[in-house]
Symmetry: D2
Subunit: 368 residues, 4 copies
């Protein structure tokens, strides 16, 4: 009913359902005069796109962006940027049978309980297609952060039961994670992950996974205690992504079984004169405030809810238990497609905090 805006100063509002006219985003809080490269938005949308390989859904979505406002002669005007992507024509028929049978694991039932109905054709706002709007906003946020030297990386740690054994370096992530379909920085593990997905697909089943998002060169001082801490807002941002059920910062759950003498990141003076820590169990955030060390977040993604296997549901008219198997095209694993969405949410969160601390004036000085 309300809740479609994220951010305090850099404010992202998304709208649109999968089976209506368009998906769109309005981005408010943009410094004026910044040059934007629309090609980068398209590249990011390409990374989110399904149907690129046997590993993903074979639906063909062509996501053409249409800029409605906020950019003049290639530069931001300081006014809200609105961008939409039209939905393609679709056939409602195949969805008819889902009308009264909410799909297990999906938001159908929850929407029905809250709104009195649910969009049986494709999930409405709960559709993964909504993340299109996030990716557009995130791509713009990443370009603004890049002005300040901030870089966002992401890669896949685990798919199903296949997990990388060694944490890759930032360079390995940069070089390798985009060279395979699963976004893994370890090429050998990537192959195993692909097999894991194909196996699930063959069984009419699905798998989930774990991904990591990293921000480098984040200035110290971002995060507003005691509730708008940087990690608190990152947790919200990342947990709001469909299918994400867990978020950890730095060493996260592992910290529970370690000793304080191990988990405290001890200080030294680095060659560049900055205070750094030998380890980074804190994931770059102390007391809710960035320290200048890399920001590190990991998120767990549940297996795709749409599966061909038969499951129990209830008929909302008769109020009887029935069975359902989700036919049609669906990804056996969405994990690789979530990478760019997670980058987007991290970028949006960081930029919102950065603008709060730096103000808009500083940007103006830079661009003239």
């Amino acid at each position: 009913m309300t809740g479609n805006t994220f951010g305090k100063i850099f404010r992202v509002t998304t709208f649109g359902e999968s089976h209506q006219e368009a998906i769109g985003v309005v981005i408010d809080g943009i410094p004026a005069g910044i040059e934007l490269d629309l090609e980068k938005i398209k590249e990011d949308l390409e990374r989110r796109k399904p149907g690129k390989s046997p590993l993903t859904s074979p639906r063909e979505e062509e996501d053409e962006i249409e800029v409605l406002s906020g950019i003049f002669q290639g530069k931001t005007t300081g006014s809200p940027i609105a961008i939409i992507v039209r939905n393609k024509a679709f056939d409602s028929k195949p969805y008819e049978e889902r009308k009264l049978k909410p799909r297990p694991g999906h938001a159908d039932l929850a929407y029905w309980l809250k709104y009195g109905f649910y969009d049986y054709r494709g999930g409405g706002r709960a559709s993964g297609r909504e993340t299109l709007a996030r990716v557009i906003a995130g791509s713009i946020a990443k370009q603004l952060l890049a002005f300040k030297g901030i870089e966002i990386l992401s890669h896949t740690l685990q798919i199903g039961k296949v997990r990388i054994e060694k944490q890759p370096s930032f360079d390995e992530i940069r070089e390798n994670s985009r060279n395979n379909e699963v976004g893994c920085a370890d090429p050998k593990k990537a192959k195993e992950m692909e097999k894991e997905i194909l196996k699930a697909k063959a069984e009419n089943d699905s798998v989930g996974g774990i991904i990591e998002v990293i921000a480098l060169n984040v200035p110290p001082g971002l995060g507003e205690p005691v509730f708008d801490k940087l990690d608190a807002n990152l947790a919200k941002a990342l947990m709001s992504i469909p299918a994400v059920k867990a978020v950890e910062i730095g060493s996260g759950f592992k910290l529970a079984e370690m000793k304080g003498s191990e988990t405290n990141d001890q200080f030294y003076i680095a060659e560049d004169g900055k205070i750094k820590t030998y380890t980074n169990h804190a994931g770059g955030i102390l007391g809710g405030i960035s320290t200048g060390m890399p920001i590190i977040a990991r998120l767990a993604i549940k297996p795709t809810s749409s599966i061909g296997k038969e499951q129990f549901t209830v008929n909302l008219k008769n109020f009887t238990q029935e069975k359902i198997s989700i036919t049609g095209k669906h990804d056996p694993c969405i994990v690789p497609r979530v990478l760019v969405v997670a980058e987007a949410m991290m970028a949006i969160t960081l930029l919102d905090h950065l603008l709060l601390v730096e103000g808009f004036e500083k940007w103006k000085e830079r661009i003239n």
Copy 2:
């Protein structure tokens, strides 16, 4: 600088530093005419209190609440409730040497980078003492939720390397978790956890852990897609607690290695006529909206940053590396004390969402 308020309608603002006059809270968005039991606030504060046993810090904090506004003849007036707890006199001397040496794992350095100084006497806003204010607000929120039949539970799953083997029932949690110092629902494991803490203490070290917070009888329909999802706001609420570094909803990280056919919670009609699910991997939340099933969240708490063991730090004046060992009184494990804080943050989040959906009028009808 800004960020000390949580919530959209039920709005909790905390203030106060550990070594100044008082810690306090202002709670806005309270329905009028509700009877409040101040004794319950005191009970909750008692649960947060250190120094109750050898397992916790021997400091003596007496936390007397003083109600400044918002309650008249035992009932809420609809005006903001302000409550403060005075800090006791303290001696600044023992802290002198920390003035230029930020403690590893603590917020000292981050505050120094952000604000240009840090409160070397006790952490300022980053002090665990700030959670006093959260507990007060949470205790009030729990009383309001109780009117609607909603119950909040919490218990300890793990301390250091000791973890319970079997998920306890809600009844076991209710009965057992308050009978031991560590908040564990398994009495035998509780003993082991206590030993784990004492061992760390003997080594001048500290341990962390994992706790679980549960909300029962939450009505379906709470949570506002796509950014103010219930799980997203819970993640923010819980991650904003000092020392928390990870949050998961339902089966969380475990979902990553399961199949969709296992993780989808399948539907049936319960005896009371409600739609329920056989399993609850979703933790009571689908598409960001409560379904009526129990809400379940788990959080990882890092080991106490204050340890006696010698660690590296930097001198902020000379900019040279030095050593520091934290003397004075400190908890070797704060996990059990976080339980009531986590309950508070969950209660505050739920009430905020409930008021948005139900409005204030409904409460009025109830109380007249």
Copy 3:
């Protein structure tokens, strides 16, 4: 840079500049299942439209609305409603000379100082065309309020030096104010007002005026002390309309010279059993809260800034004083066109407050 959203729960975000692709609005916080009549939106846009008579600008704007999301089979889905209106092709040439010469009375200079540039082609976000988006949102808000029996009226009190002599009844406003070009409830005065406008036009000059907006049947209890008072939020809403420079509630400035014994609205029990007041100097709001009496607000609109007469400006490149006369098409008086915009802002404000008090649940009960 940021500030394009109004409302706390019923949230209206507008975007778009006059000389770019489109003007649009995203409306979040809509109860689900409400039937909407798009024809009423078109009627309201017609009332805002320039060029209907010699009294207004002869530009031809065709404002076709395009619904992008949030409405399914004629009913709200509870998801954000996005609606856009495309801008027509335009010729940038005639605007070239304004590029460096900000127009007196316009926002040009302020935008240049804030953003480092201004949209010399048509005012960008400061263009009156932005109010299109407000009218769309307002029209939807009025339909939702009508469900609750709330009615919004508006009429013109004064144009230039012509002012009505007697406050019209609500019936007179309903019947007469839409029967003339100036929105005046007194047909004779309406004629004089028209002449006042034509006279200004003949002199290459412009006139302003005063209008009144009224809300009937507003339930008591709307408004949240002490800052989100109903009158405070109405003042913000109405003052945010372009060209509005003053807002008063009830008897407003007149109260300054009256006695307390005259201005206090004394109570009686009306025939319907409700408590009413003999007079309504308070404009239906006491202590920032609606009382059930009619809500009354008046606003002053400055004369159109675009005039043919020669004025002093400065050349922003040379930093020398120069002269400018605004050629092209422009309204000698925009007062009548502001009526529907003021209705919109009042409706949006009231609905936001109503949803806060009543919650979304109540709406659901109504529609099933």
Copy 4:
């Protein structure tokens, strides 16, 4: 129920009722390291205080401030500042008869309708005593603005039927307006105003008035189109003050009868090289953004609602019409006491906008 916080970044939350423990304020969003002079807060409170002369209420309020947090060694810490003022002991008895008889013009009835009860002892949150908290926050805001060279002035234009004839210069306001009891910059008119008040007092009646608040040296660029315009937020801030029923910016309502050629403020280059305007009908704000010219706002204050004269009310138990005359001590005119409150609300609004544009970093640079 909710609404006791003002501002987006510089956030002021007030709490407390007139007849409970204390009135207080929490101020969040304060840059760290700024030296504050508590004496200036006391001076401002003195200006708000009743009972200084026969013109005001003879009640004796001693308003001692108690700083609870946020200031360390005289400087801001960046943490929220909490300050309270205790209420003195009072005798509830004289108020007993008001219990069921809401006072005309007061918020009593509106609170009863909204909250189900009202504080018959002194108005609760609707009491003028709440403005104490605003004055404290405003006094701090003025000190922060003064760092940036911004000055806030105020003076009385009209009391009852006595109005100054000529707009005083800023110097005259600075020199004269604090030399008389009514805050008027014209000493002769001040005397007449005093008589007007005494006359009303003698008649058991009350009078209102009009005041002006001015901000000098405000940098251009403050204000966020299209809803968080500077004038829109000022209108909200000023209209939220008890008893204020109208707000105008610049020439306000007068603009309605002027021509565009008169009201457009024409540009010239001033000696200091800045762009200025010959006139200032816009009150320093164009398109919702400050231009660098003086910000000017005027507000109408209704006559004090508490009067000795007999008035009609209703008995809320019997639901019959009855009579009431307000005995006890009350101001026949509160206008002069509102001056410092209006200054406070303007300062809070400006600082909130300034921090948004400049960020917190700039402040830090200044203070180190």
